[in-house]
């Protein structure tokens, strides 16, 4: 019997053929933790007798969730991370260098076929590269930093095939929102997802990252986009699934008629077509995050907003996914167009998505966000409501001051 991509990657790492359902101990090619999960991980690492990390080249810390530090308590946690990284001679990505997942991919800490453990739930993002990447908590992360290994259950895989091409004005975010709505927030729990088909084949790495990113919102352990059509700035050998691989479930969708999608408060899988929500007033629009803060996202927003102004009474906040994204968006004029339209540019990082600082909404305010989560209180205020949409929809809605279909701005 053939193997799924996940089975194949794990088999390659432990040197024998494994099947879904087996418990295995596997070597890990890379780990990272952020300023939300890192401090607890470092404390656990020392408490469990850790002296040196298993390989300083394969371990990274990123200050992105509350960067720059909004108060003295968090500033001291950042200091703790800097001190640890220096002592271990491992890389620490400073405030503003970018969001953990973006900097891991940009700096090639993770590559196709790797097994990667990140102390952040959106670590499956690296499935865009064809890597088996899982989110773990702080103590698991500490254990991997010490041993270079993790124990896990080889997951069953769900195969999602999307045929047809997305219409103009409909992007990867709309597609993954649609799929989250179909699979539901618990539909892939303990399982891996493989994305196959024409709709993904022509996607950029950035769009593939958006797709893989939101497999976390289906409960998946890993979410891997078939490497067919993947282009990277270095040579790589893709890990492909066998034709006779066994999938626990298979879904097929024709996406050629898909319209822009929107996720309604208070769960990411509460997804609908945008049309019934058009015209609903918004107070605050946000573009950024590990889901949609990349150059192509900022460009789409800039193209819509260039030479225009954000609606009166609406604020637009932009957080580029990384310093490198920011520099590229300065060079190509996107940042100038966005700021001239009235956008407020904040430090590259997670920003207001995690509700710590840099844009907490007020009571009864309505937010439209390019992020991946809209649980109650997610952005720091349980009295606000968050709609999730594609960057194009967020930009167009900021322009009109109400939720709107961006199609008319994208010709």
């Amino acid at each position: 019997m053939g193997m799924t991509i996940s089975e194949k990657i794990i088999s390659q790492h432990i040197g024998r053929t494994v099947k879904a359902g087996e418990l295995v101990i596997t070597p890990v090619d890379g780990v990272m933790a952020t300023d939300t999960t890192g401090p607890l991980a470092l404390k656990a690492f020392e408490a469990m007798g850790g002296k040196n990390v298993f390989d300083p080249q394969k371990c990274a810390l990123i200050i992105d969730h509350a960067a720059p530090a909004p108060n003295e308590r968090i500033a001291n946690l950042h200091t703790m991370m800097r001190t640890f990284a220096k002592a271990q001679q491992m890389r620490l990505f400073e405030i503003g260098e970018g969001i953990c997942h973006q900097v891991m991919v940009e700096n090639a800490y993770v590559k196709p076929g790797d097994i990667f453990m990140g102390a952040d739930s959106h670590t499956p993002t690296y499935g865009a590269l064809g890597a088996f990447a899982c989110g773990v908590g702080s103590t698991d992360l500490a254990a991997v930093m010490m041993t270079g290994q993790i124990w896990l259950k080889v997951p069953e895989t769900i195969k999602i095939t999307c045929t047809g091409k997305l219409q103009k004005g409909v992007t990867a975010k709309d597609l993954i929102l649609y799929l989250v709505g179909e699979i539901t927030i618990s539909g892939a729990t303990y399982q891996s997802i493989e994305f196959h088909g024409e709709a993904f084949r022509g996607m950029t790495l950035a769009s593939r990252m958006t797709i893989a990113n939101m497999t976390a919102e289906m409960g998946a352990k890993a979410g891997i986009v078939h490497p067919d059509g993947l282009e990277l700035p270095y040579d790589f050998t893709p890990v492909l699934p066998d034709d006779e691989a066994h999938y626990i479930k298979e879904f097929r969708f024709d996406v050629s008629d898909l319209e822009p999608q929107i996720s309604i408060p208070e769960s990411p899988d509460n997804v609908e077509n945008i049309s019934p929500y058009e015209g609903r007033p918004i107070d605050y629009a946000f573009i950024g995050t590990c889901c949609n803060g990349r150059l192509e996202d900022l460009r789409i927003a800039a193209d819509i907003l260039k030479g225009k102004k954000v609606a009166e009474g609406v604020r637009l906040v932009i957080a580029p996914a990384s310093q490198s994204t920011l520099l590229d968006a300065i060079t190509d004029g996107s940042i100038q167009a966005l700021v001239e339209a009235g956008a407020s540019l904040i430090t590259s990082g997670c920003g207001p998505c995690v509700g710590t600082h840099q844009g907490v909404p007020g009571d009864n305010e309505v937010v439209i966000s390019a992020a991946n989560r809209n649980f109650r209180g997610r952005m720091g205020n349980p009295q606000s409501s968050i709609y999730l949409a594609a960057p194009a929809t967020v930009a167009a809605s900021a322009l009109e001051g109400k939720i709107c279909n961006p199609k008319k701005y994208m010709d």
Binding site: M48, H65, L77, G135, V136, A142, A143, Q149, G355, G377
Partner: protein, 163 residues
């Protein structure tokens, strides 16, 4: 065997509801307990007593990877979390910090019931209604981690994982 009084909640309780992100950046675990479940049930913190049992529906603990979620529950006094099933990161995190969890599928346990949990058998008995639920036994490696009070002590002792 763990016995306790129950607090019952529904499906898809996410980690933002268990402990909002704005409180997670701390090493002071008592502040986590102060805000546990505050956006779901603001009265939980004052109701919960040491040894009580949290019972939920499907997909408990979905969302972020924050280990502060099981830590907040444990620090608030919760002795075990019973659910139809858990989100995967929460499940691992709970075991790793020494908070027992058990999956029992469909159930009709209500708040204020007296419940008895047998982790080694994978079963839960609702003493109030008399119903018994045969749930999932957790893998031996997780039982071993729990027996040590969590992953920190487990690795301190064994230096490696043993399946």
């Amino acid at each position: 065997m763990i016995k306790g009084n129950t607090h019952v909640y529904g499906d898809n309780i996410d980690t933002d509801r268990i402990i909002p992100g704005k409180y997670t950046k701390t090493l002071d675990l008592s502040t986590l307990a102060d805000h546990v479940l505050e956006d779901l049930d603001p009265s939980f913190r004052s109701k919960v007593k040491q040894g009580d049992i949290l019972v939920a529906g499907k997909n408990f603990g979905c969302g972020s990877s924050r280990e502060q979620a099981p830590l907040a529950l444990k620090k608030a006094g919760v002795s075990v979390v019973v659910a139809e099933y858990f989100a995967r990161i929460f499940f691992r995190n709970a075991i790793n910090i020494g908070l027992p969890v058990i999956e029992i599928g469909n159930h009709s346990i209500r708040s204020g019931h007296n419940v008895q949990v047998d982790l080694s058998e994978g079963s839960v008995k609702d003493m109030t209604s008399g119903e018994v639920y045969e749930g999932q036994k957790i893998p031996q490696v997780m039982m071993d981690i729990l027996a040590e009070g969590g992953m920190v002590n487990y690795l301190k002792k064994n230096k490696r994982y043993v399946l």
